[in-house]
Symmetry: C2
Subunit: 454 residues, 2 copies
């Protein structure tokens, strides 16, 4: 091992206790392994019986359960059926859905079709959640044909590296830590760290604590290149890597033109640095267990507050990855109106449960007099001045501009939200397809305490 997996005093006990709680038992591990092998065996048998063996390279298990980096009670099994490169895409889909369905039913499971870039089969057998995904078998450095073709290569690389340095439990600690502070997941709701990113970071820094220590030196736009990349692709050390504008850039060993940390937003990048620092200074298991909820509760349970207003919108039957970006878009659009009308908020945020979308604001200024200052053109712009005073009769010169007092459109935020829910601001606000504020409910207060306003 090149890097010592650093665990300073005071951490060992905590980390051991944590692992005891979060790592699956050997029995669990074995059981899962046996079950996924059984599925693979059945898939091969079905393929042979259908005489489709010639289309297929192999059937493999991938994912964190295969790599021993999953957390306890994670029963996800990912099976990839890898086809030969000359097989048509249509054929991949058809084969997997047919063969898969047969096998799942044979094992007394239920299954349905899911769609990512191309369809795959999702199934439930007992406590296990199974995905059976078709892809092409690629060699290192080959261009992908479908988006999921990278996954088996990721799996291969990680397995080798994690085993070599015995880092499986370190990945688990990092994942759990990120979960605790609410930034685990690269989905559009979380915009945090993906599992794959956790594994690469753990490999790069050589352990969990080392990763946290490493992050203390990060700056915005931090670039991380695993040294293995130079060996794999036989690159010089002055090789010019692709340029990314993200807060954190981690080059994918499987595809150097891909930033594994692209989904991570700047705030979550900063949160990781901040809470890592807190944890390193004051090691405690607290950080690993819903710590973000405690932070939010601490913030929400302030004695002194601004005015809290929540817009409640009935949720359509649409997934988080669509709903959350639309909520964000709507809130940004409403924020513009609020700022335009001089209503100042301390923080805002959004959250969706199964039935409703909630957009909340904490206001610092929610009532204003009816007067508004309009700043016109500089006195040097004669045409602009003439037009301005034609429209505004309470004008005067302030500094170098002609200004005027006019009547404000909204005296308090309720009037703004009333107009929004009545659809009167459609010209100024983007009403997203699935999160329309028309007929929304206006609540006083936060309504929920487990989402973060910022």
């Amino acid at each position: 091992m090149e890097k010592e997996n650093f665990k300073p005093d005071g951490f060992n006990e905590i980390l051991d206790e944590l692992l005891n709680d979060i790592a699956p038992s050997k029995e669990e591990e074995m059981e899962l392994k046996e079950f996924s092998e059984k599925i693979i065996t059945e898939l091969y048998a079905e393929i042979d019986s259908k005489k489709l063996r010639s289309l297929i390279e192999d059937i493999i298990q991938v994912g964190s359960t295969d790599r021993n980096t999953n957390l306890k009670n994670d029963y996800d099994i990912d099976i990839f059926i890898r086809f030969k490169k000359d097989v048509k895409k249509e054929m991949l889909k058809e084969t997997v859905l047919k063969i898969g369905k047969k096998v799942i039913e044979k094992l007394d499971g239920k299954c349905w079709i899911e769609y990512a870039e191309h369809p795959y089969l999702s199934a439930k057998i007992g406590k296990y959640d199974i995905d059976i995904v078709p892809c092409y078998k690629l060699n290192w450095g080959e261009n992908i044909i479908s988006a999921v073709d990278r996954t088996p290569l990721h799996n291969e690389f990680l397995k080798k590296m994690l085993k070599k340095n015995n880092l499986n439990n370190d990945v688990r600690l990092l994942k759990k830590f990120l979960k605790g502070i609410g930034i685990y997941g690269s989905d559009l709701k979380t915009k945090g760290f993906s599992g794959y990113l956790c594994e690469l970071l753990t490999i790069h820094y050589g352990g969990f604590i080392n990763t946290l220590l490493g992050a203390q030196k990060w700056k915005i736009g931090e670039k991380i290149i695993l040294k293995e990349i130079f060996d794999i692709y036989n690159l010089d050390h002055d090789y010019k890597f692709a340029d990314f504008k993200d807060s954190l850039v981690v080059y994918d060993p499987v595809d150097l033109n891909r930033n594994v940390a692209a989904a991570l937003n700047k705030e979550n990048f900063c949160k990781f640095i901040f809470y890592s620092h807190q944890f390193l200074k004051n090691p405690s298991k607290d950080f690993f267990y819903n710590y973000y909820k405690k932070i939010n509760e601490n913030l929400n349970n302030r004695k002194e507050k601004g005015k809290l207003i929540t817009l409640g919108i009935k949720r359509k039957d649409i997934v988080d990855d669509v709903i959350y970006p639309q909520m964000e878009k709507l809130q940004k659009s409403i924020n513009k109106i609020l700022i335009e009308n001089n209503f100042e908020f301390l923080r805002c945020g959004y959250y969706a449960d199964d039935n409703m979308c909630y957009l909340s604001w904490e206001f610092l200024v929610w009532e204003l007099p009816n007067v508004k200052l309009k700043i016109g053109p500089p006195v040097f712009n004669k045409e602009g001045v003439d037009n301005f005073i034609k429209k505004n009769n309470k004008y005067f010169v302030k500094d170098c501009n002609v200004c005027a007092y006019t009547t404000r459109n909204y005296k308090n935020i309720y009037e703004v939200f009333e107009d929004i829910r009545k659809g009167k601001l459609k010209k100024k606000i983007t009403y997203p397809k699935y999160v329309s504020p028309e007929n929304a409910i206006i609540f006083n207060g936060l309504y929920f305490h487990d989402y973060q306003l910022k």
Copy 2:
């Protein structure tokens, strides 16, 4: 005449009516001339009787009444006693006070001593206000010994130029126009155009309307060099003049290192451009008669207003030129506190009558919740972060900074003003010598309508 004194259609009638009203009658002019000549004759007689003739070069009348650029009912007579350059300053003072007093008393007037850079005699005889000022007689281009030495040269230059181009009444129109829009006077209360500046501009542009038209092309930092300057000093046209940072630069023909428009502030510079443009578009006598009061009334009599608060401070027996800068300083200092505490105002201003100083504000935001957002250091600054969270327990990460909610010092502006009048903010506010807000009275409303808030 090189420049035509341009008076477009629609202006002649207005300007003639105005002149009828504002220019002194021929009788008035004659009467004043005779009276000032009488004073000069008496001064010579007294000097001769005291055998002081050898100290003195001459005694002359200067000022707008001498140049025929004064407005009606302006009975100011400025007499300058010009001494030989080898006479000691002490002697100037002594002689003028002694001789002057004698003459004034002989003419049944009252007199007293005034102090500018050096003392002079001020007097009242009937309706006339007389200043008798000692100075040295200089030739063109010679360095001044005392500040007032320039005045006789100014007078000589202006008289010649105004007479040559028959511009006396144009100066009167410009002065009255500037009075009307409230920016006539180079004192620290007004920060506008001096009489001398009006005369130079009228000469430079060749008339009143031409000056207004000329101003329409002004930009911040406008530089005006009278062409006569090149002749007087025999300068090349690429001569490098002194650099001034003022909004308007008008080189003094008597001293090229002096900007005659130094006292004019940017806002008044812009007001001149703005109201000139208005007048040229819609010629009306209204502009010449307390137009600024109508503007202020129009602004103050809005139906919709913010919260108006006035701080009333007992006035010490101190001149405007001292009181006004101190009021300005105090208001700026209080504004800083208001902004720091997130109270937003639309406009503010100050005004003093004989008994009181008034500082007023029109507030847009005058009440706030008790919570305050404190923005701490970026998460990259570990030491800063550690210090910040030691002091603030409701912390969180926002964008790249650690932030916290704390309790606001002031929930409304009355609390701020209460602390100011109790002297509790002495560390944060500059309490000027003569305008101390301690024990000030806090009024609701504007209290006065004839001063401008901006």
